[in-house]
């Protein structure tokens, strides 16, 4: 018989044949019958998901905007105003000279500012995120006094006279060194500079028994000097500075004024304009700002929430109108490609 070859093996013994059946074992997995839900993006589903999103997003957006509006912010750009008239054409020469850099500014408070009021400096066109800059630090050295000599990645600010610089690297070297002092009606406003850095930085990244060494000793001074008797974990300006910014325009916390400022107050600022942003045409700004639960002024978030929510609402309406004007019956077979063009092509 034609197929007896395979048949004889199988039918020799019915019992063994059943045992040797090659029928695959059943499982929902192999038969591809796993229980599944099948979400279908029906017009109704589209419209309702749009509505749900807008219902959630619009209130959030409103809340964000309200919070943002509560923030009072005073911004004062002083980089060009603090250059004396005769140095207007030689700003770099001025900043590199040893002339007294004191500069007086007056800020008008237009709205009541509740304490604490945060003082920021804002730099522009300053590439703290430049590849050469970002890596120019040594975290081991900053944390561990025993590793004071490790200056890997810190070139060219790694050694001074053959000895390791602590803190080494370009970031520390270029530490911002303008200083501000504030007074209102001849009363000094104290600026609290404690606790301006993130706690984790203070406690984990900068050592309590690591002290600056050989810092700013070379011929070229990049920025601020550090008091060698204060451990790095308490050098909060440095800690803030070394948390490098993501964008070339950034704000860094300088300190806190812990009294309320009233509308109409005039704040006198005496600042030392030391830091060179003139070489690269960078702006310098002084910012006084209050905060809310959301932080500082931040309209973007509120606007973005409102736009997305509003757009969703608009689309929900538009789709609803289309749904009524030109409804598409669900599962209309006339949409099938082989029904649209006769001949199945």
């Amino acid at each position: 018989m034609a197929s007896s070859g395979s048949g004889s093996a199988g039918s020799a013994d019915a019992a063994t044949a059943r045992k040797h059946t090659k029928r695959p074992k059943y499982s929902k997995f192999t038969q591809q019958e796993l229980p599944a839900c099948k979400p279908i993006l029906t017009p109704r589903a589209v419209i309702s998901s749009f509505l749900i999103v807008s219902v959630f997003f619009i209130p959030i957006g409103v809340a964000c905007l309200l919070a943002s509006n509560d923030v009072v912010e005073i911004i004062d750009r002083y980089d060009s105003d603090c250059i004396p008239e005769n140095f207007k054409n030689n700003k770099v020469g001025y900043i590199q000279s040893s002339i007294d850099k004191t500069c007086n500014r007056t800020l008008n408070v237009t709205k009541h500012m509740k304490s604490p009021i945060y003082v920021y400096y804002e730099l522009d066109n300053f590439y703290q995120n430049h590849r050469r800059y970002v890596k120019s630090r040594n975290d081991d050295q900053l944390r561990d006094p025993k590793k004071g000599d490790s200056t890997e990645f810190c070139k060219p600010e790694d050694l001074s006279g053959g000895r390791a610089i602590v803190p080494c690297g370009l970031i520390a070297w270029s530490l911002f060194n303008d200083t501000y002092s504030f007074s209102r009606e001849n009363n000094m406003l104290a600026v609290n500079k404690k606790g301006i850095s993130w706690k984790s930085d203070r406690e984990h990244k900068f050592g309590k028994d690591v002290f600056p060494k050989n810092f700013q000793n070379s011929s070229l001074i990049g920025g601020a000097r550090l008091n060698e008797s204060i451990p790095l974990s308490e050098q909060e300006d440095l800690i803030v500075w070394m948390r490098t910014a993501a964008l070339p325009t950034f704000r860094k916390l300088y300190g806190r004024i812990e009294v309320d400022l009233n509308a109409g107050d005039q704040i006198h600022v005496t600042l030392k304009n030391y830091y060179n942003t003139y070489s690269f045409n960078g702006k310098k700004m002084l910012v006084l700002s209050t905060t809310t639960w959301l932080g500082g002024k931040n309209n973007f978030l509120g606007i973005a929430y409102l736009s997305v929510g509003g757009l969703c609402f608009f689309l929900a309406m538009a789709f609803t109108i289309i749904y009524f004007i030109k409804p598409r019956q669900l599962g209309d077979p006339s949409y099938l490609s082989w029904n649209r063009s006769p001949g199945g092509q």
Binding site: S3, H20, R23, F57, L170, I196, S279
Partner: protein, 1207 residues
């Protein structure tokens, strides 16, 4: 190499004179001294141990790595990793090394595992024991220690350890039976016969006296040829393949055999045949290569932009960067050489943006496809055939998605569309026609003519597999009362004697089993049995027939007919003869064959019978039956002896043996007397018409390529629904009257020229007509029928285009009388010429070339021959499973793989572009946005699993709906899920998303971010952005899911969770930029607001797009989803199964029959050239058969059964 040291056994030389007489071996042959290791010593024969491993311990790493790095993506990442180790890189090497090593680790582990398994397998085989003759006793020795010239004993069911020269067996007449399943998959037994002179060397004592020299050809890979001589007792005896036992075969039904080792180890024919099969790559994967190239172009593009920017940016004015100072990597920021800056930054950015190239894509796709094929296709219940106990088998996992895009199917007929289950249905003996059965085709024709045929089966109707015949006039010995019982007797004897069938099993009519190369033959022998001529035993020289009712009704009589010669069948002869001697000494020649060749050789006279028989043949043919003519001839002893001398001469000739044999056969096959004819029904396979209809509705065009006659082929085409009466048929045939006329003149050049012109004319007119039909709005479908001879000319380069145009416009194409080569040519014509995706399906050796030529080859498994399966990419048991394979598995695989690829593109592009936008903010310095580890784990952990889950589980519509709406398949043919616009849409939205992800996070980043007025730094912002990217990209995956199982939820949720867990731990453990960053940002409400806003805003665009697309431009599958939205997915698949083919087989068949042609064609339907035929005879009798390069190479190398013989 010192052979004695390798062998652990020493066999003393029994030859004393041989040593001095060793001559250098001629390069084209080898001389083997039997039973004499020492004399063989100077010749470096290899040992018998085999190794199929790719590597060993020392070569594994270098070789394995080399193979891995032949993949461009891996090589690219190696380059990037090296680049990352230099100072110009912004990222540390781990960023690329981690994913690369993970990919390599997975691939190498797989390789090592497979190789280890191969090694174990080799060891098992090499250490198998075999009895070798040593000092007059049989010693058990491991296979690996066997050497050329050794005498071995192989017991029943044992495997031959090497290629052996067959000396003796325990069977009488020196025959043994072997099974060649390992070689060609055929499970029927073959006979081998030793030379008569060596029969006696059976016992160890006797065998140790055996001394002979074998001169034979050098090892080669031809399984069916062997030339050589045995020089033995001063005689030179020619050897044929009939005396050769090949390694890999096993002994059956024989106590034991004794043989001499002639080829060992890697020189055995089976090993010489094992070669690596070139693997096919799917069309989609080739398109993927283009996409990867496009990604490379994008990569260089964005690097170029960044590098130009950096060239402009670099300036000493940024004093805090100290660009003026030298030091490591100073060249990159040297403003006095901006070109150098440009070049170096190019490389910097190349490393930075390297995640754009999806390194894990190939591994992921491989994994997905591997599981798809091994778990889904191989285990599908719907493709399990109970009768033959055969599940579907994906022999490669490369082509799953190709199954979803097939546009042309090339199908064999016999065994594929039809069952290859032949049933003896009708016959004509002398001037009478017998058989009351009505074929389905006849019934349909009759019904259409308004007649109803009642089938009145008599009680005596016997039905057995292979026999479906009913006529009281012949059954139960009733033929003795017929007008001419003598001719009936000849008819039955011819059936019982003239064949090459082997009986197997118990010698009783009920239990016996027949082994035949062609099911036609088996059907004829079964018919003889039913008529009372029971063939029950075959020895090499005789056939034993238990005849009943011959002398007297009811009387049994065992008769043995001595078989003198067998003139075997081949495709040129189209006939087969047996010369036998009756017990009373009469010599008779029985012959059966195609009507044309038999009629040419008939003796003059008896014109009535000839005329009548011819009529009957035409009747049978038009009923769709396969016919054969039977004839006989009585020989005089004298004439026979003269002829036999010539025959023996021809048989022992070394050159052109088969041609000479054919010529000698011609001499005796003359003046035959016609006995009658037989008609055999070739049954359609279950569900074939329904399946073909389904496939056609799926937009697939089916071409049937068959060796059958044009009429038979057309009949089957009608029966199987391929052609219907509504179709306009074009028939291109070289069998016109004009052609016959020219042929009779006999000038081959003229014939060829004439046929060519004729074919050209026919093609041209058909094509014009076809085009006019297509232009008209009637929408009539077209069908083309073309025969092999015309095809030969139509495939000529000048006519090929015309043929292709015509063929592509037709819904069904039937090519008849085509050779295996032509099958492959036609397949290639469509594959290359029309650039369509093709699938070939077949069951026999003659389909192998076609199966290999097509994009996807499908073999029918569970039947006798395995050659097609060995060459195929997928094996299924039944043609109808093709619907499941294509419409369900193929369609799903295609969709899933498309999703995996496009999603990979999307996630890598989105991620890299955020990085690219950041470059603009950093003075083009190439500063990385994300932490090294985050970047390196992005692809391998945080986004790896969900896409694999989608690749495995995504399901647009259920399996039953896939079958119910075959039109869904056309989405695959049109490639709607991976066309340019789809890729472009993904790319567009990934640009959109990356812009949102980057800007929405970074724009509001300056300013206080908590109520304590603190600001965020670079790493805080980047970690926030990264979190948003992870969430967005993972959620985006949900939007492409058609079904969401709990695995989706686990994978997506798990990936996001994995990110958080990782960063929680990482930011504590590692001192550096990311130190405590996640805790810092998570302490601000700003983080949570961003995390809610950004993914929503990013996915908003995609969501709107999907909504609009579904609303206004829905895909077909989406409509189907909607139609069946509320149906719960039934887990009972068998019930659903019937939605697809709700006709029972008989219903389907009669439905099919209603499609049959109205006109009765005048053809005789000869069809005896069944696929396995030639090779069967070749192996049976050691006759040279044309070496088929397309099958030999493959089949031997592929099968690795559990019993462990590996080739």
């Amino acid at each position: 190499m010192d052979r004695n040291s390798r062998a652990s056994v020493q066999i003393p030389s029994t030859r004393t004179s041989g040593l001095s007489g060793v001559e250098p071996q001629a390069p084209d042959r080898r001389t083997i001294f039997c039973n004499d290791r020492r004399t063989n010593l100077p010749t470096p024969f290899p040992g018998n141990s085999i190794s199929t491993t790719k590597f060993n311990i020392f070569t594994f790493l270098p070789k394995g790595l080399f193979e891995q790095f032949r993949r461009v993506a891996n090589l690219y990442f190696l380059g990037i990793s090296i680049l990352a180790a230099t100072p110009i890189s912004p990222i540390s090497p781990i960023t690329n090394v981690v994913p690369l090593s993970m990919v390599l680790l997975i691939s190498l582990t797989k390789e090592a595992f497979e190789d280890w398994k191969r090694r174990q397998n080799d060891n098992v085989i090499n250490n198998r024991m075999i009895d070798v003759l040593q000092d007059q006793t049989w010693e058990s020795v491991a296979w690996k220690n066997l050497q050329v010239g050794d005498i071995v004993r192989v017991k029943q069911d044992g495997y031959f350890p090497a290629d052996l020269l067959f000396l003796a067996s325990t069977n009488a007449d020196g025959v043994c039976y072997i099974e060649t399943a390992n070689l060609d998959g055929e499970t029927n037994l073959k006979i081998r016969k030793a030379l008569e002179k060596t029969w006696e060397y059976l016992t160890s004592e006797k065998a140790s006296e055996f001394q002979g020299e074998i001169e034979c050809e050098q090892p080669n890979n031809s399984l069916y040829t062997f030339t050589g001589n045995l020089i033995f007792q001063a005689q030179t005896l020619p050897l044929s393949p009939n005396q050769i036992l090949l390694r890999g075969c096993s002994v059956k039904n024989t106590g034991y055999i004794v043989g001499v080792v002639i080829f060992t180890g890697h020189e055995t024919k089976v090993m010489m045949n094992s070669m690596n099969v070139p693997s096919k790559r799917s069309t989609l994967e080739r398109k993927l290569d283009k996409l990867i190239l496009a990604l490379f172009a994008t990569l260089f593009g964005i690097c170029f932009i960044g590098a130009i920017g950096s060239g402009f940016f670099v300036s000493n004015k940024y004093f805090y960067l100290r660009l003026d100072v030298g030091g490591e990597g100073s060249g990159q920021f040297n403003s006095s050489n901006r070109f150098l800056v440009f070049v170096l930054t190019l490389f910097t950015l190349l490393t930075l943006y390297s995640p754009l190239i999806p390194i894990s894509l190939y591994v992921s796709i491989e994994m997905v496809k591997f599981i798809q094929s091994t778990q889904f296709i191989n285990n599908d219940w719907c493709m399990y055939h109970k009768e033959t106990n055969t599940p579907a088998l994906a022999r490669t996992s490369n082509l799953n998605e190709e199954l979803g895009q097939v546009e042309y199917i090339f199908s064999d007929k016999t065994g594929t569309l039809t069952r290859n289950l032949m049933e003896f249905f009708k016959c004509s003996i002398g001037d009478q026609v017998y058989g009351t059965g009505v074929t389905e085709i006849e019934r349909q024709i009759a019904e259409r003519n308004g007649m109803k045929i009642e089938e009145n089966k008599s009680d005596t109707a016997v039905k057995e597999k292979g026999f479906n015949f009913d006529d009281d006039r012949l059954m139960q010995g009733a033929w003795r009362n017929e007008p001419n019982p003598d001719i009936c007797k000849e008819f039955f004897r011819c059936l019982a004697i003239c064949h090459t069938v082997l009986p197997e099993g118990d010698e009783s009519p009920e239990k016996i089993k027949y082994q035949a190369a062609s099911p036609d033959e088996a059907a004829l022998v079964i018919a003889a049995k039913k008529f009372g001529f029971f063939f029950y035993r075959r020895t090499p020289t005789a056939i034993y027939v238990r005849e009943s009712h011959v002398e007297k009704k009811g009387q049994l009589q065992d008769t043995s007919y001595e078989i003198l010669n067998v003139l075997e069948f081949n495709s040129t002869r189209k006939r087969q003869s047996v010369i036998c001697r009756y017990p009373d000494g009469r010599l008779l020649l029985y012959c059966k064959g195609a009507d044309t060749v038999i009629y040419e050789r008939l003796a003059d006279g008896a014109d009535d019978i000839k005329k009548l028989t011819r009529e009957y043949l035409e009747q049978f043919g038009s009923s769709g039956l396969r016919t054969l003519c039977l004839a006989y001839k009585e020989l005089s002893i004298h004439a026979y002896e003269i002829w036999n001398e010539k025959f023996v001469q021809a048989k022992s000739s070394l050159s052109d043996r088969d041609k000479k044999l054919d010529e000698v056969a011609e001499l005796i096959e003359t003046d035959l007397i016609l006995i009658g004819s037989t008609a055999i029904e070739d049954k359609l396979q279950e569900g074939v018409p329904a399946c073909i209809e389904t496939l056609q509705r799926a937009g697939i065009k089916i071409w049937v390529l068959t060796g059958d006659k044009i009429e038979t082929a057309i009949n089957i085409a009608y029966a199987s629904n391929l052609i219907s009466n509504e179709m306009k048929k074009f028939i291109i045939s070289a069998e016109t009257d004009a052609m016959r006329e020219v042929e009779e003149r006999g000038d081959p050049v003229e014939i060829a020229h004439f046929i060519r012109e004729e074919v050209k004319k026919q093609l041209k007119s058909s094509l014009e007509e076809a085009q006019s039909y297509l232009r008209s709005l009637s929408g009539q479908k077209l069908a083309l029928v073309i025969d092999g001879k015309s095809l030969m000319h139509a495939l000529d380069p000048s006519l090929r285009v015309m043929l292709l145009n015509l063929g592509l416009n037709c819904h069904g194409v039937v090519c008849c009388r085509v050779s295996p080569l032509q099958k492959a040519q036609v397949t290639r014509l469509v594959k290359k010429g029309a650039n369509k995706i093709t699938l070939s399906i077949g069951d026999g050796a003659n389909d192998v070339s076609m199966i290999q030529a097509a994009h996807v080859g499908v073999g029918i498994s569970g039947m006798e021959g395995m050659q097609a399966v060995m060459a195929s990419d997928f094996a299924i048991a039944q043609f109808r499973f093709l619907a499941d394979l294509l419409l369900v598995h193929g369609r799903w695989s295609y969709q899933r793989v498309c999703k995996v690829i496009t999603y990979f593109l999307y996630k890598n592009l989105t991620f890299t572009l955020t990085q690219f936008w950041f470059t603009f903010q950093t003075g083009f310095s190439g500063q990385r946005f994300y932490d090294d580890w985050y970047q390196s784990l992005y692809n391998v952990i945080f986004t790896a699993l969900p896409v694999i889950v989608v690749g495995l589980f995504d399901k647009d519509v259920s399996a039953s709906l896939s079958r119910k709406y075959p039109g869904l398949y056309m989405e695959g043919i049109r490639n709607v899920f991976f066309k340019r616009s789809v890729v472009a849409t993904w790319a567009f939205f990934s640009i959109y998303q990356s812009l949102i992800l980057f800007n929405f996070v970074i724009l509001p980043s300056s300013g206080a971010k908590n109520s304590a007025g603190k600001t965020l730094g670079h790493w805080d912002v980047s970690t926030m952005a990264y979190t948003c990217v992870i969430v967005t990209v993972n959620l985006r995956l949900f939007m492409i899911c058609n079904s969401v199982t709990r695995w989706h939820l686990i994978a997506v949720g798990g990936s996001i969770l994995a990110w958080f867990i990782f960063t929680f731990i990482y930011s504590v453990v590692k001192l550096g930029n990311e130190h405590f960053v996640i805790y810092v940002i998570m302490s601000t409400p700003y983080f949570y607001l961003t995390l809610l806003l950004v993914p929503f805003a990013a996915l908003f665009g995609d969501f709107v797009f999907h909504g609009i697309q579904r609303w206004f431009f829905p895909y077909d599958y989406q409509i189907i989803q909607e139609i069946h939205r509320d149906e719960p997915e039934s887990s009972n698949r068998t019930e659903l199964l019937e939605v697809g083919s709700n006709l029972t087989p008989p219903e389907a068949r009669s439905y099919a029959m209603s499609q049959l042609p109205r006109e009765v064609s005048k053809h005789t339907g000869f069809a005896f050239d069944s696929p396995g035929y030639e090779s069967f005879f070749a192996s049976q009798f050691g006759v040279y058969s044309p070496l088929k390069a397309w099958d030999v190479a493959r089949r031997a190398s592929r099968r690795a059964p559990k019993t462990g013989h590996r080739k």
